[in-house]
């Protein structure tokens, strides 16, 4: 669960409008750290939400987008700050130079760690210029 020190705002205005925002601690408390959203959401038992068209965005303290994670579907545990799915996932860095996809994931909101369980495929643009091998 996100710490109490973190300003967090959860809204469930409708089944088609789900957003959970986590902010940085002071002195950057006005800056959004992560924004978790979905096009559709249905409550499940145990405080869980089934989210369709899941999207998770993380931002630097200056507001620059760092990572964007999308998945067709996931289950979001509001109490423990966990999002997971056995399905497909895509990740892209804010500048678009890093693209990742895989199957099955777990997002831990507490420590902002994303585990991709299977078939991880990463494409990195503009790696350092390689020199000939010795």
């Amino acid at each position: 669960m996100p710490s109490a020190a973190r300003a967090q705002q959860n809204t469930m205005s409708s089944a088609t409008d789900f957003t959970s925002v986590e902010r940085y601690e002071a002195p950057n408390q006005q800056q959004v750290k992560t924004r978790l959203s979905g096009a559709e959401a249905w409550p499940l038992s145990g405080g869980l939400l089934e989210v369709k068209r899941f999207k998770l965005e993380s931002f630097a303290t200056n507001g620059r987008p760092e990572v964007i994670i999308t998945a067709p579907q996931c289950v979001y545990d509001q109490v423990n700050g966990l999002a997971s799915s056995p399905g497909h996932l895509q990740l892209q860095s804010g500048d678009g130079k890093l693209r990742v996809e895989g199957d099955g994931f777990l997002w831990r909101q507490n420590d902002s760690l994303l585990t991709i369980s299977n078939r991880v495929h990463t494409v990195i643009e503009n790696m350092p210029e390689m020199k000939p091998a010795p």
């Binding site: 620059r64 500048d95 890093l98 994303l114 991709i116 990195i124 350092p128």
Partner: protein, 196 residues
């Protein structure tokens, strides 16, 4: 620790230095595949686990565990650690294949005061070989800027006559402890110190 510096010169190793330009051509992307991975966006780090395969335009690397520091916006990957059953395959400027194995490979890239440092440290039963020679040492340091290889406690095994003889034989490779210095004179060293 005694260090032996080996200059992979164009003359003896069949390599030519790449042309230096201020605007390097865009490179195809690097692809990394693995069974699983853990991303830490805040720590700008990703850990790949199990059957890690790196497919770079100029080399291929496999290992069981790879940690890469993710670049900041507009930056580049500047630190990679590959561990467990590390195998690196690549080609030099002439398309000559090279093969390296070790338990741990560490890639570092740094720019300071206009100078670029780009190295790969190989440790843990490290070995680098091409069609002409095999080098073992601890560590083996591959300077990617100069193309040179530095090895400590180095042992080199020659696979063929570096003097350029056209004859092809099945004679066993010469095995020698190369003294500190350049392999520019490796043939002379062999003649003077190792009479086979």
């Amino acid at each position: 620790m005694k260090s032996v510096y080996i200059i992979a010169t164009a003359v003896l190793c069949g390599m030519t230095a790449p042309a230096q330009t201020n605007a390097p051509a865009p490179r195809p992307p690097t692809v990394i595949d693995s069974e699983s991975a853990v991303f830490d966006p805040n720590g700008h780090q990703v850990t790949y686990r199990v059957h890690v395969r790196v497919n770079d335009p100029e080399m291929k690397l496999t290992c069981d565990w790879l940690v890469a520091d993710l670049p900041q916006a507009g930056g580049r990957v500047d630190h990679i650690v590959a561990t467990t059953n590390v195998v690196i395959d690549g080609t030099d400027a002439k398309g000559q294949a090279m093969h390296a194995t070790c338990a741990r490979a560490v890639y570092d890239y740094k720019e300071q005061n206009g100078a670029t440092n780009e190295t790969v440290w190989l440790t843990g039963n490290a070995k680098v070989e091409n069609v002409q020679w095999t080098i073992t040492g601890e560590p083996i340091i591959w300077d990617r800027v100069t193309g040179s290889v530095t090895a400590s406690n180095q042992v080199m095994t020659l696979h063929q006559n570096l003097a350029g003889a056209a004859t092809k034989t099945n004679s066993p490779p010469a095995r020698t402890n190369v003294p500190p210095g350049s392999i520019d004179n490796i043939d002379k060293n062999l003649h003077s110190k190792n009479q086979f």
